[in-house]
Amino acid sequence: ASPSSSMIYADDKVQSYLTKFGYLPESNPETGNLRTEDQLRDAIRNLQRFSGIPVTGEIDDATRKLMKARRCGLSDRQNPRYSRTRRKR
């Protein structure tokens, strides 16, 4: 992140949500909890863009509300975990 940008804090619940629904890569947990600020901000932006709420890159009220909303358990991004199809590496 640029020095001027404010740090974003995403607690476990937020990170878990972003991972669960395909906005943060699933492989991340295995390589450590070393997500960068940019990665988190991008994930939030993508979530906001996909859901149609204002894209701020921040965990604002609309985003919090969205994350509490009832929803389907499948990932929003193409994610092989619900598929048995092999994918080209």
């Binding site: 990170q15 909890n33 149609g52 509490k68 389907c72 990932s75 929003d76 619900y82 598929s83 199809t85």
Partner: protein, 483 residues
């Protein structure tokens, strides 16, 4: 809309509700809602849906609560309502609904809660091959929106389904790109079935269900060669149709998985004296309050803890009486085995034992033919002397093997370890250290590592142990006094 990439190879699909009185709702009403939800898709495509009473239907519908065996636990009331699997083998097409939601049927007066019709219509979209859409108002938009009773499929979803399966003959909506759409599944040839009482040990693909009274139409449709591979063997019958033979293996049809009970021990050892668990010719019975564990795993929703030649079982009501028992009393392993290194239940419910450089695969209590096999068959190195632990990680439902200072991720689909492995345990599973004794995912979906007489709860998100200091196993798992 987004098409996941898989679609059914035929257009006439079958479905079946496999839960009785889900969420306390009347089963007929639930079936009606599900039927209406599927009809929404049928009206807008060449697809047809037939309800059957079979666990071999294309789309199996379940109501589950919490962890339910697919690695994607429900979260109680609110937020996650349901999930479904894209077309494919195994669970492909199946839809799971959170039983703890307050579901309402369209015709009910109480409309507080979540519309089963709305959620089912969405989930069946996944069952047919559609992924989530970012279009607000689309049925495949991931967040719950509710539906009006006379809901019509939005344009976005209509385009999606018609791209995969074609538009219905009488209704052509918009300019859908032409394509080769799946054919009708051919009607099965007329087959004369012979009723027999002989115990068969092989799967009967053409079996019919002549004697079970039910509210479903007859289902004699066999699994066709042109469809996805058969549903796996572990699928069980509707509990209300299960013959009342709880203490015998279901031997005439191996697609029903018997529970692991002491009375389903392989027939070949029936000549032995009746089991007297606490008496052993050898004085090597471990002390449950003062021991390490060789392996630990959840098998059929019970915790099995292995030590030396013995095992304990922990069910919902705690540690079973009469244990520890010799492992070979329950599992058809060689008589001379003196320990197991690791055990885990595969996603297809088969049980894998690792002993030294070999592994054994069991279907319930019965060793599958061709086993044991060498670890190298799984892609593990020939130099590996043993596996320390095996688990299906709740965080991503992938299988992991641990040995010494290394671990491997295992691809269950191809039955081989993944590329890029092994990796160093310490770099990725912080605080666990090398040479673990056992690891497993408990019913709470969390991961527990065992070493010596203690264990660590593992924080899956932070990728390190939740407590650096080990906790004693005996008080926690065996109910022993703390001192």
């Amino acid at each position: 809309f987004t098409i996941h990439g898989q679609r059914w190879p035929y257009r006439n699909l079958t479905w079946s509700l496999r839960t009785n009185q889900p969420s306390g709702l009347e089963t007929g009403g639930v079936r009606l809602e599900l039927s209406k939800a599927l009809d929404l898709w049928a009206r807008n495509s060449k697809l047809t849906f037939q309800e059957v009473n079979s666990d071999r239907a294309d789309i199996l519908v379940y109501f589950h609560r919490g962890s339910h065996g697919d690695g994607y636990p429900f979260d109680g009331r609110g937020q996650i309502l349901a999930h479904a699997f894209f077309p494919g083998k195994d669970r492909g097409g199946d839809a799971h609904f959170d039983e703890e939601e307050i579901w309402y049927l369209q015709d009910s007066s109480n409309e507080e809660g979540t519309s089963l019709f709305a959620v089912a219509a969405h989930e069946f979209g996944h069952s047919l091959g559609l992924a989530h859409s970012s279009v607000q108002g689309a049925l495949m938009y991931p967040w719950y929106q509710g539906l009006s009773p006379n809901y019509e499929l939005p344009e976005d979803d209509r385009h999606g389904i018609q791209q995969m399966y074609g538009a219905p003959e009488e209704k052509l909506w918009g300019n859908i790109p032409g394509g080769v759409f799946p054919p009708e599944r051919p009607t099965p040839p007329t087959t004369t079935t012979t009723t027999t009482t002989t115990l068969a040990t092989t799967y009967r693909p053409w079996r019919t269900r002549p004697t079970r009274p039910n509210h479903y139409p007859d289902y004699g449709r066999p699994r066709r060669p042109d469809r996805y591979p058969s549903k796996p063997d572990y699928r069980t019958e509707r509990p209300d149709y299960r013959p009342q033979r709880p203490h015998k293996p279901h031997r005439h049809h191996t697609t029903t998985l018997p529970a692991i009970t002491t009375t389903t021990v392989r027939p070949t050892i029936s000549q032995r004296p009746r089991f007297r668990w606490t008496q052993s010719p050898r004085n090597d019975v471990p002390d449950k309050c003062d021991t390490s564990y060789d392996a630990i795993s959840i098998i059929r929703r019970e915790v099995f803890i292995f030590k030396g030649r013995y095992l304990w079982r922990i069910g919902d009501k705690g540690l079973y009486e009469g244990y520890p028992a010799e492992i070979t009393r329950l599992f058809n392993l060689p008589e001379d085995i003196d320990h197991v290194d690791a055990v885990y239940e595969r996603p297809d419910k088969k049980i894998v034992f690792f002993i030294g450089k070999k592994y054994y695969v069991f279907s319930a209590n019965n060793l599958e033919s061709g086993y044991p096999k060498p670890l190298t068959n799984l892609g593990l190195p020939a130099s590996l002397e043993k596996i320390d632990g095996a688990m299906v990680w709740g965080h991503n439902s992938r299988t992991y093997f641990f040995s010494g200072s290394m671990y491997w991720r295992f691809d269950e689909c191809v039955n081989y370890v993944e590329l890029d492995y092994p990796r160093d345990i310490s770099s990725n599973f912080g605080g666990v250290g090398n040479d673990i004794d056992a690891v497993f995912q408990w019913k709470d979906g969390k991961t527990y590592f065992f070493k010596g007489k203690g264990f660590w709860l593992f924080d899956d998100l932070r990728m390190k142990v939740a407590h650096e200091k080990q906790k004693l196993s005996a008080p926690f798992w065996m109910g022993c006094p703390r001192k």
